[in-house]
Amino acid sequence: MSDEYAIDVRGLNKHFGDKHVVKDVSLQVRRGEILGFLGPNGSGKTTTIRMMCGLLKPDSGTGTCLGYDIRRDSAQIKRHVGYMTQKFSYWDDLTIRENLDFVARMYGMSDRLGAVDRTLKGLGLTERSNQMTGALSGGWKQRLALAACMLHNPELLLLDEPTAGVDPGARRDFWEELHRLSAAGISVLVSTHYMDEAERCHKLAYIAYGSLLAQGTSREVIAAQGLITWAIYGGNLAGLSETLQKMPGVEQTVLFGAMLHASGRDGDLLERSLRATAAGTVFRMEKVDTSLEDVFIYKMKESANRSGTGT
């Protein structure tokens, strides 16, 4: 079992005071797989990741990370896992080289200077290695952070919203790098808010209000929901959205700029309602594949209604 899975945790629970922030989360990541960890802000993603890498002790639940017990072997896990925190957490008042050198020392690397030099070269930062880290732009900080958490050649990467606030070009480069690492056999768990990034993952896990709501490939996650979706174009889509929400069979409307998605599980009822509303208007419509975003918005509302915490 420990050979097949990089992460295999079952029934994780964590409370902060009387808040139950992670509820019965079970999660598996195969070796060499990229798992996208999705969910709204405050849904328990960071807490789950911290439990996996031994920074927090779960209140209940068991599991292994690279075959090491997450409760007992946190020292071993830390040695073989690269964890990139949500907030840039290297030292602004150290130079780039000093930061990398510190990390290499912490992991007790035998070829410390060589590893630092290779990393600097790989980043293309050799010339700037004596600059203060605080002076780097957001994109560079993110690249440095990834390189730093890769320095000790971890077998598993836990990346907490690594691309938040990074421009699209840098994000694309970042994902190419992740796929290169994955091809080399490194497992990755990456949390994100971007749907295009979610589509790039091998598997997805969706968490909301502390509960894991869906897990699988993006195709599986979408299919499991059984939503039929139509796209509508033209005219006052915001007004149309309000009207449609009152119609039978329309369970959800989502506005994507110049396009409105209307979804429901009863395809015929949905189509009748849409045709009735759009008849004799400027609106054009067509049936489309349900997107991940439709599914996740649907799931979030569903769990909010169930737990009574949403609006």
Binding site: L55, K78, R79, S89, V103, M106
Partner: protein, 380 residues
């Protein structure tokens, strides 16, 4: 263009309101705003006394008579001297002064009364621990006036002739340790503890809260480093800084202020290490409690205030009321001040210093236990 152009009263008012809202939520700042004046008022208003009275005084009585009893009673009623006991001989008197157990020793020589009656004008000897000139000055000034009142009370009837003219006996005063009453001799060794308190508590507090505030603590803990390594690793540099600071002060005391150095340098550095350890535990505890660097600074300041005022650094310890001495006895600086002054001026050895060393050890252990308790909590 006038800076008031386009000044909007309502905008201005909303900024004021916002500031008050934030101030009210920032509990610690609010507590400081209220707490500091109250603490200062209490300390300066009630605790601090620049005309200290009730100084512990021991008596070596080799002669007992109506007159010596009157002398002792008069000293008591002056308010400056509290008679705490009798000592067998001069040697015991010196030892009690060296350990700081008493501020004064009144020595009544054998045959004193007979000498007075013979009109030989003998002398009473008062030995004083004059380390802190402020603590002894007023009391010693009062002593010779007391002679007159003793004479007026006891030398009546046939002895009245002794009361007239010159005083029937005199009081000779020995100011030990700081005979010239030079304030610097007292302040400079004391300053060492004050500076160490300030830097040790503040620097460790900031060093640890800074990691937390910037989010780098999480990164540190995600690496294989153990919490104990992180903690101690962050603290050791400040021990070095404490030793450097102490060295600067010792050198300045020696060469710039010419403070006599009667004790052992090794003893002094060991005392410094112990005191640094005590303060580091305070710093660690504060950094566990403080949410931000600002809070750590506020807490340090709050801790620093009673240390300055109640430790005997600025004002004589014995002159304070019992409750203030009680608080002072909880502060490591109180003991360290006695250690540095004892080593510098009195040349105290380990035996004399011990009464002020064990409290520092107890303090360190107790606060360390508190620090460990709170530290665990902040990790999870």
């Amino acid at each position: 263009m006038s800076p008031l152009d386009g000044f909007s009263l309502s905008r201005w008012w909303s900024i004021i309101l916002k500031e008050f809202l934030q101030l009210r939520r920032d509990r610690l700042t609010f507590a400081m705003i209220i707490g500091i004046p109250i603490v200062q008022l209490t300390l300066f208003g009630y605790a601090i006394n620049t005309d200290p009275k009730h100084m512990p005084t021991a008596i070596i009585a080799a002669d007992r008579s109506e007159m010596t009893r009157t002398m002792i009673a008069t000293m008591k009623t002056s308010g400056y001297f509290d008679i705490v006991g009798e000592l067998p001989d001069e040697e015991a008197g010196r030892a009690a002064l060296a350990r700081g157990e008493v501020q004064f020793v009144l020595n009544i020589p054998a045959g004193f009364t007979r000498s007075v009656l013979r009109g030989e004008r003998p002398a009473l000897l008062v030995e004083a621990d004059a380390t802190d000139p402020m603590a002894t000055g007023m009391a010693l000034a009062s002593v010779n006036q007391l002679v007159g009142s003793v004479a007026a009370k006891d030398l009546t009837g046939p002895l009245a002739f002794l009361a007239g003219g010159q005083a029937p006996f005199e009081v000779r005063v020995h100011r030990l340790y700081n005979p010239e009453g030079i304030t610097q001799y007292n302040i400079i060794p004391g300053l060492m503890g004050v500076i160490l308190t300030m830097t040790m508590v503040l620097m460790t507090g900031l060093a640890i809260t800074r990691e937390r505030e910037r989010g780098t603590m999480e990164n540190l803990l995600a690496m294989p480093a153990k919490p104990i390594e992180v903690m101690t690793g962050k603290i050791v540099p400040y021990i070095a800084i404490g030793l450097i600071q102490s060295t600067i002060i010792i050198l300045a005391a020696r060469f710039a202020f010419r403070v006599p150095f009667a004790g052992s340098v090794v003893t002094l550095y060991l005392a410094v290490l112990l005191f640094v350890a005590a303060n580091l535990t305070v710093g660690i505890t504060m950094s566990s409690l403080a949410q931000s660097q600002l809070q750590a600074m506020q807490m340090t300041f709050f801790y620093f205030l009673p240390n300055i005022l109640l430790s005997g650094f600025m004002f004589p310890f014995q002159g304070m009321p019992a409750w203030a001495r009680f608080i002072g006895n909880l502060l490591p600086l109180t003991y360290f001040n006695r250690l540095t002054r004892g080593i510098f001026l009195k040349g105290n050895g380990w035996w004399d210093l011990w009464p002020n060393i064990w409290p520092l050890m107890v303090f360190t252990v107790v606060v360390m236990a508190i620090a460990v308790k709170f530290y665990r909590r902040t990790l999870d």
